[in-house]
């Protein structure tokens, strides 16, 4: 009951012989000072290193999302700019310009994350591998919702109403795929800035989807 406790403490006391008391008093203060200095240095080093060690790494979901979403966004910018430049429908033009400029801005945000995390814009992993079963969603190197090179060639060649309908159709698919990826990072990350930005992206793209669908209905697509 109480005996074991006593045994332990008195044993520790016994380890330091009485004749060492003088020595300990002589060296005690410098030793304590040294210990405090070493402790402070270790704490300082730890404080310096902790942000480096806790920020998202090369294989993290955050880095994977940032890299893949930059690629995904870049194609939305391409499609949006085509609509902005060549559509004959005022609403389609403005949606295209809006999406292109907004997503180009977000590309800058995500590239800044990568740089502040000390990571390259180019990853070492295949696209979407940061998402569970994400790799299976990649077709011909294209992430969910992305237009194929053939789709893009068609869009570049299209004119008038055909261009508007094709753009709206491709952008709706693009946003649906994008929202799937955004949900992926919202599930995987608790990095505040990533979560907040991803949530904003999701809200924006949801609103876009409503407007894109309404415009498509209006044009009878």
């Amino acid at each position: 009951m109480s005996a074991p406790t006593t045994i332990e403490t008195s044993e520790l006391d016994d380890q330091t012989p009485p004749e060492r008391g003088a020595t300990a008093r002589r060296w005690g203060t410098p030793a304590l000072a040294l210990a405090i200095v070493v402790g402070l240095l270790l704490g300082y080093a730890g404080g310096l290193l902790t942000p480096r060690l806790t920020r998202p790494g090369d294989a993290s979901a955050e880095a994977g999302f940032a890299r893949d979403m930059v690629t995904h966004h870049a194609q939305a910018v391409e499609m949006g700019m085509i609509a902005f430049q060549r559509s004959t429908d005022p609403e389609v033009r403005s949606i295209g310009g809006d999406i292109a400029s907004a997503q180009q801005g977000e590309i800058g945000t995500m590239q800044t994350w990568l740089r502040s995390w000390g990571l390259d814009p180019a990853g070492s992993e295949p696209p979407m591998s940061w998402m569970p079963d994400g790799a299976s969603l990649v077709k011909d190197g294209l992430m969910p919702g992305m237009a194929t090179p053939e789709d893009m060639a068609k869009l570049r060649a299209a004119q008038g109403r055909e261009l508007d309908v094709l753009f709206l159709d491709l952008m709706i698919k693009h946003h649906l795929g994008g929202i799937h990826m955004i949900d992926g990072v919202l599930d995987a990350s608790d990095e505040p800035d990533v979560v907040a930005t991803a949530q904003t992206m999701k809200n924006t793209q949801r609103n876009d989807l409503t407007n894109l669908q309404n415009a498509l209905n209006r044009l009878g697509g």
């Binding site: 008195s10 330091t16 391409e78």
Partner: protein, 265 residues
């Protein structure tokens, strides 16, 4: 684990003279402690029941247990911190250093500063001293570099503009076997700031270009291709990471198209 060694020297006399442990607060238990101790958790403390002998024995040695513990913890902490420091500094090595470590890479930013200085726009055909070109004046229109896989040669004048925007341009000799070409296409397709095209007259089967950098390899399986892309894609841009790759020339053909920034279908 309780490490009370620092407090030991001062407290020890109390224990010796009174046989009671202040912390325990029970004289009877304290007395027992003397006899019970040697059979306690510390090994090698000797026989049991010999109250006077044991304290003397212990007092002759240093408190190796706590010292060993401190050393162990210290070494552990130092190695964790050291490894973390090493790993994070290694991982965040600047891309220039990682590019320089790629075997066989040519860095024109070092050898030819005027070549890589900048991106003046210039219409018409341009003669480049390095082929495939790695930098220099270029057409106002860039080649579309949204992971485009071109199956015919493209104009240098447009391609150099794409390099300026941070693209890694992968070129291959037209006689490269089809399975090798598709391996290259797989790396490129669908990724912005990358493009692939055949290039006539290459002295090696495959040549990679970024602004101011070139690497020639023999085989599409060469690991240095991925290293080159990892270190230089976007990073090599002299106009930052948001320079466009879309809205470029999507047509092939080695004659530059003046005034033709619009997609060519």
């Amino acid at each position: 684990m309780s490490i009370s060694t620092p407090g030991g020297p001062e407290r020890r006399p109390t224990v010796v003279s009174t046989g009671k442990k202040p912390a325990a607060g029970r004289p009877a238990a304290g007395a027992k402690a003397g006899s019970g101790k040697p059979t306690g958790p510390r090994p090698g403390a000797g026989g049991k029941g010999r109250k006077p002998v044991t304290p003397v024995k212990v007092s002759q040695g240093r408190a190796w247990g706590p010292i060993a513990l401190f050393v162990a913890v210290g070494v552990l902490a130092a190695s964790i911190i050291g490894y973390g420091a090493w790993a994070s500094f290694q991982g965040s090595k600047p891309w220039e250093e990682r590019a320089a470590e790629i075997d066989g890479i040519v860095n024109f930013r070092k050898t030819d500063k005027t070549l890589v200085e900048g991106g003046n726009h210039q219409a018409g055909s341009i003669t480049y001293s390095v082929l495939p070109p790695v930098a220099g004046p270029h057409n106002p229109s860039w080649q579309n570099c949204m992971g485009d896989v071109y199956d015919a040669p493209i104009a240098n004048e447009h391609a150099v503009h794409s390099l300026e925007h941070g693209t890694v341009w992968v070129t291959y000799r037209p006689d490269l076997p089809a399975d090798q070409v598709s391996k290259l296409a797989e790396k490129v397709r669908g990724k912005e700031k990358l493009m692939l095209s055949p290039f006539e007259g290459l002295d090696k089967p495959i040549s990679l270009q970024a602004w101011g950098y070139q690497l020639k390899v023999d085989n599409a399986d060469d690991k240095r291709i991925d290293d080159f892309i990892k270190a230089l894609r976007v990073n090599a841009s002299i106009e930052g990471p948001t320079a466009l790759c879309s809205q470029g020339i999507t047509a092939t053909g080695t004659t530059p198209r003046d005034g033709a920034q619009m997609p060519q279908g």
